[in-house]
Homo-oligomer: 138 residues x 2
DNA sequence: CTTATAATTGAAAATGATTTTCAATATCAT
DNA sequence: ATGATATTGAAAATCATTTTCAATTATAAG
């Protein structure tokens, strides 16, 4: 369970542990899919009915800042979040069920180097995302 | 100049050629940078002061639909557009001046195949974007 | 070159997402 | 237990985008 580790990290960074945060963290940490703030809000209110949407936004902000979650960019919009990849990991999204899978991107390095050479840019960051159908949906 | 070709394509697809559209097309086709709707609006009004922001949105929508421009996803937001790449081309963005450069991504195919093999997904689409400093800015 | 039709326009209002403000409340170090 | 301070949720404000609608304009047909 990532939940515990995320809560610890929030606390270690000076944030207080509240019921609202616990509820939000629990929902995203447990989800296989990327969730929008409203989806998190709806799901978390089952556990904690007085939760406010604003608090969801604020908690997501902190989790993103700590590198625990990342924003997911999709054709339909860019407001969903999912567990962040470690280091060179990237996202693979199922277009049908929404499942988010991480994969390793180390092998991209040579390719990126060659783009840098050809274009004259110094490349600092890359952003790579794949879309398809997962094993269950294809 | 892409302007002329874009206008022709609009017309060929049944859209009328209006002063408003001409102004919008001229601005994006000429820009090296990705522009937001408001940036296009401001720039185009120098030529055509009665232009409405709504028309900018509607024109961008059509240009995107025809594959002439594409949305650019950046850490600061995902509302800017720039000239679309052909086929397997991808975007390289300068973090300082905002310049958008296209590069070829054919070599990604093997890599994507290997991800498909490892994850069990059928991969249909990929999004790849690089960020860095262009020759002038680095 | 007119004219008729249908697409297009811009303003205003509506919608949707996100942020700010603020007084009440809850956490946590002491 | 208590107090300082972070956090909360509601409401309002802001920002991006879409819809509605009556007036205007491009273009095909005469």
């Amino acid at each position: 369970m990532a939940t515990k580790s995320w809560l610890t990290q929030l606390q270690d960074n000076g944030y207080r542990l509240t019921t609202a945060r616990r509820a939000v963290v629990e929902i995203i940490a447990a989800s296989q899919r990327a969730l929008t703030p409203v989806e998190v809000y709806d799901a978390a209110r089952d556990q904690y009915p007085t939760l406010g949407l604003v608090t969801v936004y604020r908690t997501l902000e902190k989790l993103e800042e700590l590198g625990l979650i990342q924003r997911v960019h999709r054709p339909q919009g860019c407001q969903a979040f999912t567990t962040a990849g470690q280091g060179h990991q990237h996202l693979l999204l199922c277009s049908k069920c929404g499942r988010a899978t991480l994969f390793d991107g180390d092998d991209l390095d040579q390719f990126i180097q060659s783009v840098a050479r050809k274009t004259g840019y110094r490349i600092n960051e890359h952003w790579f995302q794949l879309f398809g159908l997962c094993e269950n949906c294809k």
